[in-house]
């Protein structure tokens, strides 16, 4: 099932198409487009407003609801970049390191678990699968404090380890679920044939299933990136040394320290933190939308 293909048109066959009916249909279509265009403007306006505000000269930011600055200035970006004791470059680098490490961990361990759930038979599989699905609905607060105590005792606070290590233990059940769904769609005959030829489960996983699964792996990688990049709560509790801050923490510090005096810098840095996510959205929109769409569908 391809989610992006155009919707099947409803061919309603109620008698002949009289001119009146055709006009009515056109009017309805124009009305629908008008509605959608207005809605689109409302949806995008806040983002565009912030974008334009980041390019305004400092004295003009609040005075206008228009989206076009009277004169363009990138001064806010320079001021914002160095507005804190540590430059935003450090925060971007930290966020990038954490995101990349999380992507590797999620892809490696979630696909292992998903392969076991989708393709291997072993005692207790339905039970463990149910447990895995159960963790999807678990509010994270209930594991938060013991996890914090654990990482605190391991002396991992103020390092990236508490944010990264869980991804190497397949802690993101959502991606296991997503991959299980995808693996189930790959014909089982493929691995059965390989098994007859004496292929071990590992080889089947590595040589057959993974190469066929690049779409779901890419989807998982992109979502991991976006969610790690946007994560605020994890860094908030585990990182308190400004040199370890992620972009989200840097932005929050900016809000606290200079929001009232330097809105321009704050908006400029806000826009910069959104850029990576927006770029991924632009280039991989189809994968993201299909990934979201399949979560609600049963096979």
């Amino acid at each position: 099932m391809s989610v992006t293909s155009a919707a099947p048109r409803l061919t309603v066959v109620t008698g002949e198409a009289t001119p009146a009916k055709i006009w009515r249909k056109r009017a309805l279509s124009v009305l629908a487009h008008a509605l959608l265009i207005v809605a689109s403007i409302v949806m995008l306006y806040p983002l565009l407003w912030m974008l334009s505000a980041s390019f305004r000269p400092e004295n003009e930011i609040f005075t206008s609801t228009s989206l076009w600055p009277s004169e363009w200035s990138i001064e806010s970006y320079f001021r914002g970049w160095t507005g804190l004791r540590i430059g935003f470059g450090t925060f971007f680098l930290n966020s990038l390191i954490i995101s990349v490490l999380c992507i590797i961990g999620n892809l490696a361990t979630c696909s292992l678990a998903a392969f076991a759930f989708a393709r291997l038979e072993f005692w207790g599989r339905p039970f463990w699968f149910a447990m895995m699905l159960g963790t999807l609905m678990l509010p994270y607060q209930v594991t938060l404090i013991p996890q914090y105590v654990l990482f605190h005792n391991l002396n991992w606070v103020n390092t990236f380890l508490p944010l990264v290590v869980p991804k190497y233990l397949a802690a993101d059940a959502f991606f296991i679920f997503l991959m299980v769904q995808f693996f189930r769609g790959i014909p089982k005959e493929l691995d059965e044939a390989a098994q007859m030829d004496g292929c071990s489960p590992w080889r089947i996983y590595w040589k057959i299933l993974l190469p066929l699964s690049t779409p779901v792996l890419a989807t998982a990688a992109i979502f991991t990136f976006i969610w790690t990049w946007d994560d605020f709560f994890g860094p908030l509790i585990y990182l308190s040394d400004i040199r370890t801050y992620t972009v989200q923490l840097g932005l929050r510090t900016f809000v606290d320290s200079s929001a009232e005096s330097d809105w321009g810098g704050l908006f400029a840095m806000s826009i910069l933190t959104l850029v990576p996510v927006f770029v991924f959205f632009l280039f991989f929109q189809r994968l993201l939308i299909e990934g979201i769409a399949t979560t609600g569908m049963k096979r």
């Binding site: 509605l35 609905m137 509010p139 938060l144 013991p146 606290d256 609600g296």
Partner: protein
Amino acid sequence: MTARSYSGISATERAVPFVSWWSRMWSRNAPGYLFLLPWFLGFFGLTLGPILTSLYLSFTDFDLLTPPEWTGAANYVRIFTADPKFAQSMRVTLSFVLFSVPLKLAFALGVALLLNRGMRGLPIYRAVFYLPSLLGASVAIAVLWRQLFAGDGVVNEFLLMFGIEGPSWISNPRFSLWTLIALAIWQFGSPMIIFLAGLRQIPTDMYEAASLDGASKWRMFWKITLPLLTPVIFFNAIIQTIEGFKSFTPAFIISGGTGNPINSTLFYTLYLYQEAFSFFRMGYASALAWILLIIVALFTGFSFLTSKYWVHYDN
């Protein structure tokens, strides 16, 4: 050929009659458990273990530095009898969920229905509506929202054009929660995508048959579209409700971590964070976490129980 798994029982093994039960169990189960090894470590070490530990901690006084001290049900007694902030944060979170989830789903379904009519430009509209829900969780958007609804913010600039002098939405306790609800509704994109996928799975011949029988569009919506979409509505409602209970960043950024004005945006998660990481009352915060777990579990259980009365399944 019937579906055979990697039971690992090769022909040669089967031929040896005295191969022990243990080695058979091993070869049958080992691959599965080996593949699941990282997940098992995570499940026991980071999920199940911590759940049980936090249950234990919820009956103690614990400040992270000295060992936990058993206090029986004291935390729970205080929460339910002498903690106005608990009651307030529960009220705030429940109102947030109760208003934001239905409104968000209504927008998502409405737009999905509009888009599903085979519109030209569908990919563009869909992208525009989806973008906010992708960006929405970040601090930048919370910062933006804070500005939009400030006393001298853009929303009031617009209202001024119509001669209306708007209040400072975020610092007025009557409206502050509503700005957060508006932010949640603005992110209706991801349930919309799921609705679109669900609509596409409804067979078109059902509509054709109905229209041959002279059914109106309105009737078709109530008798075909809505019933067949109930599984997707159910799924979206559960996911969005759980998300709603977990929401943290917007309230934290917009209120500067306080939940003010007069605790009107004190989300349950925010209160729990304050107790645990501002005051280091880890035992008390664990009790709060367990109450949240029970509420979410009750809610989910209740939804699943009632679902058989309103969710339509094929078989």
